[in-house]
């Protein structure tokens, strides 16, 4: 019995040291935020993500195992704009970790200061409009210029949590921004021939990307955000695509391809399936390769 007690006490002590104190434990809601945090934090952070890039980031189960990840976090970073409304509160409450509650330094809304699109201008927002986000379209990470702002937000917060490493984080931010500027030139060069081209999309994940690279959205397969395609709406989509000679249907990896393929067969357009998050495909290993993948697949699709 005594041995058993000693063993249990040792387990408890060991478990409390299982997570190292020398690095900042960061939990992000998406793999995009994880990739950016790793670029800024380098070896001073240990980062994990709740959602995987293959998943629809709107629908993530609040599993108790996620509460354990949140319990050990020093910093919780979310996309914000109510993208995580279905699971964030449950996970944070369940974690019993005060550091990461909203309002504390351990809670960062990455959307602070980003350029927002589709902020509702109507006096009333309700569910007759589908799954609208009252604070704006939350898919802002698909604009690389917004990601520079996110990287700066993360740098500032990591510096606040570990002031002695501020220089290190700032240096990493410089490197990140420089690479982003260089990649922007490369991506713009690749996308330049298609400037002004109209495309069809499945879900409104793409306005930020489309806007940044000079494309235009002609129609969506979803009749309203989050509402699955209906036969009547697909007919309208087909008419628009034929009229505007749309060549591409851009869609995420986690949606059913059948409605898109049906529309493609009717219109001669090509279905281009791309990841909208890091980890969505094997090639999209970090933020830069995510945009590389999207740009390459779109340019191949035209």
């Amino acid at each position: 019995m005594r041995k058993m007690c000693i063993f249990l006490i040792m387990l408890l002590v060991l478990s409390s040291y299982a997570y190292g104190k020398d690095v900042i434990n960061v939990l992000t809601t998406t793999e995009d935020l994880k990739s950016i945090t790793e670029a800024i934090g380098g070896d001073k952070v240990r980062v994990d993500s709740l959602a995987r890039g293959l998943q629809d980031p709107h629908f993530v189960d609040a599993k108790p195992s996620f509460m354990m990840k949140a319990k050990n976090a020093d910093l919780f970073i979310r996309i914000g704009l109510e993208l995580e409304i279905g699971y964030e509160d449950l996970i944070i409450d369940g974690s019993r970790n005060q550091k990461i509650r909203i309002g504390n330094p351990g809670h960062l809304d990455a959307s602070e200061g980003v350029y927002l699109l589709e902020v509702p201008t109507t006096t009333k927002v309700d569910r007759s409009m589908g799954d609208v986000h009252p604070m704006g379209n939350p898919h802002y990470w698909l604009d690389p210029e917004n990601v520079k702002i996110v990287a700066r937000n993360i740098t500032n917060r990591l510096s606040e949590l570990s002031p002695e490493d501020t220089g290190y984080f700032q240096e990493n931010l410089k490197t990140f921004d420089k690479k982003m500027d260089e990649k922007m030139i490369e991506w713009n060069k690749k996308m330049a021939p298609f400037k002004g081209e109209k495309i069809a999309i499945y879900h409104r994940s793409w306005p930020y990307f489309v806007d940044r690279f000079g494309l235009a959205i002609a129609c969506e397969l979803e009749p309203k955000p989050g509402i699955p395609p209906s036969p009547g709406h697909l007919k309208e989509t087909i008419d628009i695509m034929k009229r505007d000679n749309i060549k591409i249907i851009l869609m995420e990896v986690f949606y059913d391809e059948k409605p898109a393929q049906f529309v493609a067969n009717q219109t001669g357009a090509k279905v281009v399936v791309v990841p909208n998050s890091v980890g969505g495909t094997k090639e999209a290993k970090d933020y830069f390769s995510l945009i590389d993948t999207i740009v390459d697949r779109i340019t191949e699709g035209f």
Partner: protein, 430 residues
């Protein structure tokens, strides 16, 4: 003299040749230098031309970027997060308010059923949730139901959750809440995966499970594997009449629940729980001594949802088992009460749900249940159903249930259910 003259003439003849040779060498040298200069110049020219071309390309690219930026009037100007969020924060001083309706039509071959062949607004839930202060949140759930022809409103749950206790991993609750016994007891009517509660719940805890005023403390037990292990202890009023004393009781029921949860992989999870509840029961009050009821429960839930196609496919297998030991008083010859008879009974259910399309889920459930007071009475029930989720906030469900009883006629029931919700109702636990 003549020799000197000849020498001079020869010298004159050869000097120009020598001079010509020297000049020729110089010219050749100069030509070489010129060629070298030309090649250096052309190299420099090429290098500068290349650099100019590169710079021109860069300028062109930058111009494109800026022209794209300039040509996008649809981009909203940078929105200050404070200003975007400010309205939200002001709004958030009010609690999140939700209303959820549970509407049914049901038909049964049991002729004395109150709502037989009737439409019924079975329940309306009013939910209010908000942070109370930096240390706690509050949740209230009121149920409006029809009873004997008139409408009544009752408090299903209303509790304060203390989120910031000094001991890490500890959380506490005070108020009226659904007790932590197994899985199904905690469900509200509208978030059941079936139309009705399992027979185990209705027979051992009452029509909508056991919800009592009391206090609760739960602790996440630290462990080297960083797994979710939660231990909950609760003390609630002894006002549940199905297994315990009922509303006239002045004592308490004690509950314990241990829950472990682990991921088999990123797509599959297992939850294993064990529950214990103990308290005095009806027979133990007044002049007849203090008889006890003890309930033990085990629950096992397996869930699968693929990462990439999780919007369209999922599976849940949920099982619960309950054992009851109830000391009870019983009438002997209809005149006296004898204490001490212990009734052992048990109940269980097993449910399988399979989502086969974005909006469609099929389910089946098997129920076996005895009764806490009549162990010889048994029910076996078989349910099959189909759920159509119009959206996240509205579902339609059709369910057939056949119940075989050894103490009454068998019963066949068909329900059509519609659940719909307004407002930002907080999501339920996994």
């Amino acid at each position: 003299m003549k020799k000197a003259l000849i020498f001079l003439i020869i010298a004159f003849l050869f000097i120009p040749l020598a001079v010509t040779d020297a000049r020729g060498n110089e010219v050749a040298q100069l030509q070489q230098e010129m060629a070298a200069l030309r090649s250096q110049f052309s190299e420099m020219k090429m290098s500068y031309e290349t650099r100019i071309t590169q710079l021109e390309t860069k300028i062109e690219d930058l111009q494109k970027i800026y022209s794209i930026r300039a040509e996008k009037p649809q981009i909203a100007p940078p929105v200050q997060p404070q200003s975007t969020s400010l309205g939200r924060y002001f709004q958030s001083f009010n609690p999140d308010v939700s209303v959820i309706g549970d509407f049914t039509y049901h038909t049964t071959d049991k002729k004395n059923e109150e709502f037989r062949n009737q439409f019924q607004m079975r329940q309306t839930e009013l939910a209010f949730s908000a942070s109370v202060d930096p240390y706690a949140r509050g949740d209230f759930f009121f149920h409006v139901e029809q009873e004997n022809g008139s409408w009544h409103i009752g408090l299903c749950e209303g509790y304060l959750t203390l989120l910031t206790l000094p001991i890490e991993g500890l959380q506490a609750k005070a108020g009226k809440f659904k007790v932590e016994f197994g899985k199904a007891n905690k469900y509200h009517l509208h978030n059941l995966p079936w139309v009705d509660y399992p027979n185990m719940i209705t027979n051992y805890f009452g029509e909508e499970g056991m919800s009592e005023p009391g206090v609760s403390a739960s602790y996440l037990i630290p462990n080297p594997w960083n797994k979710y292990i939660e231990l909950t202890g609760q003390v609630v009023n002894n006002s549940n009449g199905a297994s315990f004393a009922g509303s006239d009781s002045k004592d308490l029921v004690y509950l314990g629940h241990l829950k472990t949860f682990f991921d088999l992989n990123e797509e599959s999870t297992v939850e294993l729980g064990s529950s214990l509840a103990a308290g005095s029961n009806n027979g133990g009050h007044g002049r007849f001594g203090k008889n006890m009821t003890t309930l033990e429960g085990v629950d096992l839930t397996y869930k699968w949802r693929p990462l990439q196609t999780g919007l369209y496919k999922s599976l849940a297998l949920q099982n619960e088992l309950l054992f009851s030991q109830k000391d009870r008083a019983y009438f002997d010859d209809g005149t006296d009460i004898i204490d001490g008879k212990r009734l052992n009974s048990w109940a269980a259910y097993s449910s399988l749900e399979y989502q086969f399309a974005k909006r469609w889920t099929a389910f089946g459930r098997y129920d076996f249940s005895e009764f806490p007071d009549y162990t010889k009475n048994r029910e076996n029930a078989y349910s099959l159903g189909l759920t159509f989720a119009q959206s996240e906030y509205c579902l339609w469900r059709l369910q057939f249930k056949r119940t075989n009883r050894n103490f009454d006629k068998d019963e066949n029931v068909v329900w059509l259910q519609c659940d719909f919700g307004l407002g930002p109702h907080r999501k339920h636990e996994y």
